[in-house]
């Protein structure tokens, strides 16, 4: 219980810090060029790693061979490239996954 509250406190502080960075440090001076570089190129890296991490613990050798996650993931991506509606993509992909894990 205290572990959970401590974790929430840490996440609260860090999340607030990330949102406050520009106001704390760059209200008066230009951000250094390395920050601009990281701001642009870290998010794609982090997101790609998080997607990979979501798929790494699936057992692809036993039925259903990771098919629900792979199919639903591809559907989520295609849906988002096509409609670009965050809610539609997440709800659609998740619903498809929930159906697939029940029928496969």
């Amino acid at each position: 219980m205290s572990y959970i509250l401590l974790a929430v406190a840490v996440m609260t502080a860090i999340t607030y810090f990330t949102r406050a960075v520009p106001f704390l440090f760059f209200a008066k001076r230009q951000p250094p060029s390395i920050l601009g570089f990281l701001q642009k190129y870290m998010p794609p890296v982090v997101m790609a790693i998080l997607v990979f991490a979501s798929y790494k613990d699936i057992d692809y050798r036993a039925a259903p061979f990771g098919i629900p996650a792979l199919v639903a993931g591809a559907a989520t991506a295609l849906l988002h490239f096509w409609k670009r509606n965050v809610l539609l993509s997440i709800v659609g992909g998740t619903a498809l996954y929930m159906v697939l894990v029940r029928i496969l």
Binding site: I4, L6, A7, V8, A9, V10, M11, T12, I14, T15, Y16, T18, R19, A20, V21, P22, F23, F26, A27, P31, I34, F37, L38, Q39, K40, Y41, M42, P43, P44, V45, V46, M47, A48, I49, L50, V51, F52, A53, S54, Y55, K56, P68, A69, A72, G73, T76, A77, H80, F81, V86, L87, S89, I90, G93, T94, Y97, M98, L100, V101, R102
Partner: protein
């Protein structure tokens, strides 16, 4: 500028309906995602009250979803801190374009900064305040409405999840879907292959080096590769967009 000309109550009455109308897409999104979050959290064996507590204090969807797995397996605080920092690092960009608009926000400024989620940022930078009203109050109304939707969704989700025994098998895919959506947004924005190559290489390395600390190792290796390729990446980005000047 000066809101002393207005009686405060009347001005809020002008601001709130406009802010509410602007926030309806977020209302749909946050209640749905919050519901999924609350259900997933309870299904993971975590206490129901954690969902509203996180929604009130953290107010960050992707980080909250990620935290479910971390808390479930009792991850260390340092790991939680670092992963939150990396996942929410993208928010550090948002403030840069709001430095000006928030300059006169006064007592609301800390809360406006707190509430800079992807969706709130999107609204604040695209929706115009109605004429003759204080922009800060308009921003505050949007931020508070958005957070109230998130708190509502998260609370309802964990209450429903603990009251009923639903078969939520597979609902946790919402987190994967969220990451995929964020990745697609990045692919649209960053049309270069180096970051993705760095990420894939780093993932493979992390799988072999330390599957237990996969995320930490992968992120560290990817950051290293990115730093090594910095000159090349920026050169190519510059060659691609010769007019690149201000926009970041």
């Amino acid at each position: 500028m000066q809101d002393t000309h207005f009686r405060p109550g009347r001005e809020w009455r002008l601001v709130l309906p406009v802010a509410f109308r602007a926030s309806i897409p977020v209302l749909l999104g946050y209640t749905t995602l919050g519901l999924a979050f609350g259900l997933t959290l309870v299904a993971a064996g975590l206490p129901w009250w954690l969902s509203p507590v996180m929604a009130v204090f953290i107010f960050a969807g992707a980080a909250q979803f990620m935290a479910i797995g971390l808390l479930q397996r009792g991850a260390g605080l340092f790991e939680i801190a670092l992963l939150t920092l990396l996942l929410n690092g993208r928010h550090a960009v948002y403030g840069l374009s709001l430095l000006g608009p928030f300059r006169s926000a006064g007592k609301w400024k800390p809360y406006l900064i707190f509430g800079l989620t992807d969706e709130t940022y999107g609204l604040l930078t695209t929706v115009k305040a109605p004429p003759h009203v204080d922009e800060t109050k308009f921003f505050a109304a949007i931020t508070a409405l958005n957070q109230s939707y998130w708190v509502l969704g998260c609370t309802a989700g964990s209450l429903v999840g603990s009251a009923l025994t639903l078969d939520t098998t597979g609902l946790d895919f919402a987190l994967t879907a969220l990451f995929i959506v964020l990745l697609v947004e990045q692919i649209r924005a960053v049309k270069q292959w180096e970051p993705y190559l760095a990420a894939i290489l780093a993932c493979v390395v992390a799988l072999f080096v330390s599957p237990r600390n996969f995320l930490l190792v992968a992120l560290a290796v990817a950051t290293g590769i990115l730093a090594l390729l910095r000159g090349k990446i920026e050169q190519r980005a510059g060659a691609r967009r010769p007019d690149s000047g201000g926009s970041a």
